[in-house]
């Protein structure tokens, strides 16, 4: 069924009786050409691009819960391509280009809104660093505009510009940055992958990975054994547990990142605003809720909930930046499980087990990467070679020293 405005009107006139489920609910087959473990954003987009780009349609996505029940279902939805380092820059640039055609591609409204992202700076040194970052973005073919204080004031008059500790000197505007509807991204990829023949199998937890003579031969699941010569692990915060089923230890530590949503308000924040020095960023959803967050709680955790000190810190940072939000009531908060890598950059690579591939280490920035991550993971699984824009996301780069330390803070688990 193709979605369109005409279809919405027609269905509305006839009692909405014509809508059908957006994807099938198949039972697992005994064997597939490829299995993707994990039915989140990255797993679903990998499955879709395996079918679309490589003609591999005998593919199953195995999800232990329901599709999109992990971090793709709860995040702060920011889409941007403002990276600096070669290796990251071309990858996120590729992803943003895919985002810009995603709705047409998937025939699904993912509510991608390029409302502009503004990263604030608060000193001469930080301005220089942001100017350099902006130049790198422009060299990559993306867009960046360095705003001075008055330029920021024109766009964001409600900020406290004269804060004593962090007076606002200006901001780096990334006009093509913005937000998207997170659930819709999962649903759009799921529907499009299903339409091309991919089996999306829910409530199917992988409990073991079968390896014989150094080659993967399939997986054990709560719905029986499934054979496959190619298996991709795309499970974000649970990467260490799933990789351990194949005897692997990963350079990953899982941490909590909290985020918050207020009650719905009238439109007040038109952009995505990032206040890095205060560990705070905010946007407003189309429903009106202010969506904001801060930094990690900074200890390894799978609790999917954080502690109050970070809640207090994020609220303080928000009040420091924009005192006007003080009367907004927080509706809910949550903690996501982040697969943190030592250098803060992701991994899309083969593993030492033949036929077993891994896509992980997305830290707290996986959402914007969903299209390109799937694109590159599919390329790797189909061809056995890293895609050009993901060639530096190597599993062994911490041992070889080929780090991608975008923050420049070091290669250690508690630094990103």
């Amino acid at each position: 069924m193709r979605y369109s405005g005409l279809r919405v009107i027609t269905e509305g006139l006839f009692g909405n009786r014509g809508w059908r489920p957006a994807w099938r609910d198949p039972a697992p087959k005994a064997e597939y050409d490829a299995i993707i473990i994990g039915g989140g954003g990255h797993g679903l987009s990998t499955a879709y691009y395996l079918a679309r780009n490589h003609g591999l349609t005998n593919v199953a996505v195995l999800e232990k819960g329901y599709l999109g029940s992990g971090n793709i279902g709860r995040n702060t939805t920011i889409v941007r391509a403002n990276y600096f380092l070669p290796g990251n820059s071309e990858f996120y640039s590729h992803s943003l280009k895919l985002w810009e055609k995603l709705e047409l591609e998937l025939n699904y409204n993912v509510m991608h809104s390029q409302r502009g992202l503004i990263n604030l700076f608060h000193s001469d040194g930080q301005r220089d660093a942001f100017a350099r970052r902006g130049n790198a973005m422009i060299n990559q073919g993306d867009d960046a505009i360095l705003l001075d204080r008055d330029g920021v004031r024109d766009l964001l008059p409600y900020l406290d510009f004269d804060n004593t500790r962090f007076p606002i000197y200006g901001g780096l505007l990334h006009p093509r940055g913005g937000t998207a509807r997170h659930d819709a991204v999962a649903w759009g990829y799921a529907r499009a992958a299903d339409k091309r023949g991919v089996d999306l199998i829910q409530n199917c937890e992988v409990t073991g990975i079968d390896v014989q003579n150094g080659r993967v031969t399939g997986v054990q699941t709560t719905r029986g054994a499934i054979r496959a010569k190619k298996v991709g692990i795309v499970v974000a915060g649970r990467s260490s547990q799933v990789a351990a089923m194949a005897g692997l230890r990963l350079p990953i530590e899982s941490h909590i990142l909290q985020a918050f949503v207020t009650e719905g308000l009238k439109p007040v924040i038109d952009h995505v605003i990032s206040f890095g020095m205060g560990h705070f960023y905010i946007s407003q959803s189309d429903k009106g809720g202010l969506v904001f967050g801060g930094d990690l709680d900074f200890y390894a955790s799978y609790a999917a909930r954080g502690n109050l000190p970070m809640v207090e810190h994020v609220m303080e940072a928000g009040m420091t930046l924009m005192p006007m939000i003080g009367r907004a009531r927080v509706l809910r908060s949550w903690g996501g499980i982040m697969d943190m890598s030592p250098d803060g950059s992701p991994i899309i690579d083969k593993t030492p087990v033949d036929g077993l591939y891994i896509d992980c280490g997305w830290n707290y920035g996986g959402f914007k990467a969903v299209p390109a991550s799937g694109w590159c993971m599919a390329h790797l699984m189909a061809t056995g070679e890293s895609h050009e824009v993901a060639r530096r996301f190597r599993l062994n780069r911490f041992a070889t020293g080929h780090l991608l330390d975008e923050e420049g803070t070091g290669s250690q688990h508690n630094l990103h």
């Binding site: 230890r249 990963l250 350079p251 390894a300 609790a303 030592p342 041992a399 290669s411």
Partner: protein
């Protein structure tokens, strides 16, 4: 979340700095192979359940502590000073 420091008693999480898995206590010898260093610095079991990690009582007695805790429930099971002493 509170940690019970062996020297200072129960203290708020904000007084502590998290360093990482207690593997940092098992530093390889100078003759160790590169793989041992990679394992020590980067590779982690990262368990969902009971784990041991190192915390620094930065705003208290400045002792390094080995904390046994559950990463799923945030329950603190034991805290001992790396330099010795348990409470």
């Amino acid at each position: 979340m509170r940690l019970t420091c062996p020297h200072c008693g129960p203290r708020d999480r904000r007084e502590f700095y998290y360093y990482g898995a207690s593997e940092y206590l098992n530093r390889p010898g100078p003759e160790a192979a590169p793989d041992a260093w990679d394992s020590y610095l980067h590779l982690r079991d990262n368990p969902a359940g009971v784990t041991q990690d190192l915390w620094y009582h930065e705003q208290g007695c400045t002792a390094w502590l080995k904390v046994t805790r559950n990463t799923v429930t945030h329950e603190i099971l034991a805290v001992e000073a790396v330099a010795g002493g348990t409470k």
